[in-house]
């Protein structure tokens, strides 16, 4: 048993960290977040060149064929750099949905270009109810056409196509399609833009049924949790550095236990989130029977921890933590947006409860 990274996994993580530090330092991240879509074509082509756009997808579609643990590591490093733009929407979310539900022909048509870095895409899931319960999806096609709206669709304006989750299946809508209207929702997270997407007799191509969607969402949820871990790590690093250098009463503030213990708790929360995320990645890769529970554990814990780590990091900085120029609030904003995406901690606790409490009677008898 080895709950540590293999040499090649360490290599991937290390090179991803260096890549993001070089190509997307804080100044570049801030430049992109001020643009309409936070998308940069040159950065995208570099991501593609690294193989990141095809990381977990089969080689026959142009992917790299790595596992879910590797995806977690990449997303952790992307999260550490607060990578702006549609990487999560395109690769992790749209890519996983296509991988899980589409026929080989559709994969060739839609997943291939994602792997090759030729397109941007996203998945439209939520509606006005903002419910992550799949049963609350109302939108339905009529004669192959959609009419209605989707909310909180990430990176829709830069997407070449949108994957739409409807009551009666999963559909692709092209960005130039008739009756499609995309308007921004002004969210807290400046690095990942959100939109309302309206359909009016918009042609939609069915690519698969909803039956395998849960699996794709589990991958996306775990990856989003991994991204939170990277953000927590960066927040911790910034806070510890500040606690070592900022002096009050003639001493570095990190010498005071009130500050030092906050840092220790940030560390505990970050490492525990990381353990949960790595386990979820492994369970997904192995198709372990507890994979869905493991994903909920990771998302539940990381959602709460990212907020708490952010709270502590800002508090440790005192007045500096409240300024716009300090990066902490940018991570804090992302953490809030990701906390609710794919279900917040409360949502996942209920999911865990339904899995754990309902199976406990059989476990107790067999133990």
């Amino acid at each position: 048993m080895q709950f540590g990274l293999s040499e090649s996994q360490e290599f991937l993580k290390d090179s991803a960290r260096k890549f993001f530090a070089g190509e997307c330092p804080s100044a570049e991240m801030r430049r992109l977040m001020e643009t309409d879509t936070a998308y940069d074509a040159a950065l995208w082509s570099k991501l593609t060149h690294q193989g990141y756009t095809g990381i977990i997808f089969p080689e026959e579609y142009g992917g790299v064929g790595l596992g879910k643990v590797e995806l977690m590591l990449l997303m952790e490093e992307a999260g550490r750099a607060l990578l702006p733009g549609p990487f999560f929407s395109t690769v992790v979310l749209a890519g996983s949905v296509l991988d899980a539900v589409a026929t080989p022909a559709h994969k060739k048509q839609y997943l291939g270009p994602i792997c090759h870095g030729e397109v941007r895409a996203t998945v439209a899931i939520l509606e006005a109810s903002a419910s992550w319960n799949p049963r609350d999806v109302q939108l339905t096609t009529t004669n192959g056409k959609l009419t209605g709206e989707k909310f909180f669709v990430s990176d829709a304006d830069i997407a070449d196509f949108l994957i739409v989750v409807a009551r009666d299946g999963v559909f692709v809508v092209h960005s130039k399609a008739r009756g499609l209207k995309i308007s921004p929702m002004v969210g807290m997270d400046l690095t990942r833009k959100l939109y309302v997407v309206e359909f009016s007799d918009t042609p939609a191509e069915e690519i698969g049924s909803k039956s395998n969607l849960a699996r794709a969402f589990d991958v996306a949820t775990a990856a989003l949790s991994a991204e939170l871990v990277g953000g927590m790590q960066r927040t911790l690093d910034i806070a510890v550095e500040y606690a070592k250098t900022r002096k009050q009463f003639g001493k570095p503030i990190g010498m005071f236990q009130a500050v030092q213990h906050q840092c220790a708790d940030m560390y505990l929360e970050t490492e525990s989130s990381r353990s949960a995320v790595y386990y979820a990645g492994w369970a997904l890769e192995e198709n372990s029977p507890d994979a869905a529970t493991a994903v909920s554990i990771a998302k539940m814990y990381a959602s709460d921890a990212a907020r708490t780590v952010g709270n502590r990091g800002i508090q440790i900085h005192g007045g500096m933590g409240f300024t716009w120029e300090n990066d902490l609030h940018l991570y804090y904003r992302r953490a809030k947006a990701s906390e609710t995406a794919f279900g917040d901690a409360t949502f996942h606790r209920e999911r865990i409860a339904s899995m754990v409490i309902n199976s406990a009677s059989t476990t107790a008898k067999s133990a």
Binding site: M1, S6, P252, C263, A264, D265, S272, A276
Partner: protein, 395 residues
């Protein structure tokens, strides 16, 4: 990353399972609730049996009667022991902490003299570390040992000593140089508890029982050959014992917590809240789910820590969070249990209406000790702050 067992790990587990199936006592339930004074001969016999099967100290080197087990195998060992609800071993401090310290620092003569009897539970060991004025600040201890010819004369007081009442030997930290800086004047002595001048008193704790003792030393004579390690190098010897203490604990807790949790869910199904079973109450469900998730995360953290040590040879930073994590989780777990049990939660052993013989009220009180014993949560956070994150020392 590969969480499947290796062939070696599976073989180790299968051998242990087979052995336990035919050797684990079937009547532990009848003894479990009795005071330790009564059950102690039973626990000694159980340890002797484990020793005969070569299972008493799997982490020890083979030459000393262990199995040179890897950390993963040690984790499997404690998991299997918990799974079959095996009784604890009588000499748990000797096996877990003091034996390894003697193996690391002892002379050949000391190893030969003490190690076999630790394994067989013929001689029970206790630890004389904490003092009334030296808890978290252990290096400030005052028990003094004065050299007179070939003996040390020991005077002082120790506290929070587990197994003091039954201890044959004590790993005692004493001050041998009062003029040296506080860490530098300490020495570890191996003290025969039957020596004249040693007095053992029970220390009654907030649960009502006496798990621990106070030890008093009045002009106790200890021969110089009973020094463990070097004179005035006792701090390093003592710290190495404490490392074993913090390292080995977490592995056995996962299944113990899980068993509590499973029982709690059973209770939550039968106890009514607002006209429905507590297990259907959304607030209770949230709390149970949080607890269940944290029990799993505790295990993931542990596995990561073990893997790190196995790969690098040194404990990684993950290890330092384990003590905080399990102790605080155990307190939360017992708090949720109290919420589910409601008024019944307060009933103690001996009350005819008590649920599960009052174990929940006992555990509720006992878990307050978890964030204090084996290094308080505050000390653990200092360790993370200074040694892991590199913040300046706060004390």
């Amino acid at each position: 990353m590969d969480l499947n067992l290796t062939a070696e790990e599976s073989a180790f587990r299968d051998e242990l399972r087979a052995w336990l199936a035919s050797n684990v006592p079937k009547d532990w339930d009848e003894w479990r609730e009795k005071p330790m004074e009564e059950s102690f001969p039973y626990l000694r016999a159980w340890q002797k049996r484990l020793q005969e099967g070569c299972w008493a100290a799997v982490s020890w080197p083979k030459e000393y009667g262990g199995r040179s087990a890897t950390l993963m195998q040690q984790a499997l060992f404690w998991e299997e022991m918990a799974r079959v609800e095996a009784p604890p071993m009588a000499n748990s401090l000797g096996l877990g902490l003091i034996g390894p310290t003697i193996i690391a620092y002892g002379t050949e003569a000391q190893k030969k003299r003490y190690i076999p009897k630790i394994l067989s539970a013929e001689e029970i060991w206790c630890q004389g570390f904490s003092e009334p004025n030296a808890g978290s600040d252990l290096a400030g201890l005052q028990t003094e040992a004065r050299l007179e010819d070939d003996h040390y004369i020991v005077n002082g007081q120790k506290v929070w000593t587990s197994y003091g009442w039954v201890g044959d030997w004590c790993e005692l930290v004493v001050r041998t140089d009062v003029s040296a800086a506080k860490h530098k004047g300490l020495t570890v002595l191996l003290v025969d508890m039957k020596s004249p001048g040693v007095e053992v008193r029970p220390l009654r704790q907030m649960t009502g029982e006496s798990e621990f003792n106070e030890l008093f030393f009045r002009d106790v004579r200890v021969p110089v050959e009973n020094i463990l390690g070097k004179v005035n190098d006792g701090w390093n010897v003592a710290v190495s014992t404490l490392m074993y203490e913090r390292g080995s604990y977490g592995a056995r807790l996962h299944l113990i917590f899980k068993r509590y949790f499973t029982r709690l869910i059973e209770l939550a199904r039968t106890i009514q809240r607002n006209g429905r079973p507590a297990s259907e109450d959304p607030v209770i469900r949230q709390k149970l789910a949080q607890c269940s998730a944290e029990i799993e995360i505790m295990r993931f953290n542990q596995m990561r820590a073990f893997s790190r040590i196995t790969a690098t040879g040194v404990p990684g930073p993950e290890g330092s969070i384990q003590k905080i994590f399990w102790s605080e989780l155990n307190q939360r777990l017992q708090q949720i249990a109290q919420e589910i049990l409601g008024s019944y939660g307060q009933l103690t052993a001996g009350d005819s209406h008590a649920i599960d013989k009052g174990q929940w009220s006992y555990a509720y009180l006992r878990t307050r000790g978890n964030t204090i014993e084996a290094g308080t949560s505050e000390v653990q956070r200092n360790i993370i702050g200074h040694f892991v994150l590199g913040l300046p020392r706060s004390y």
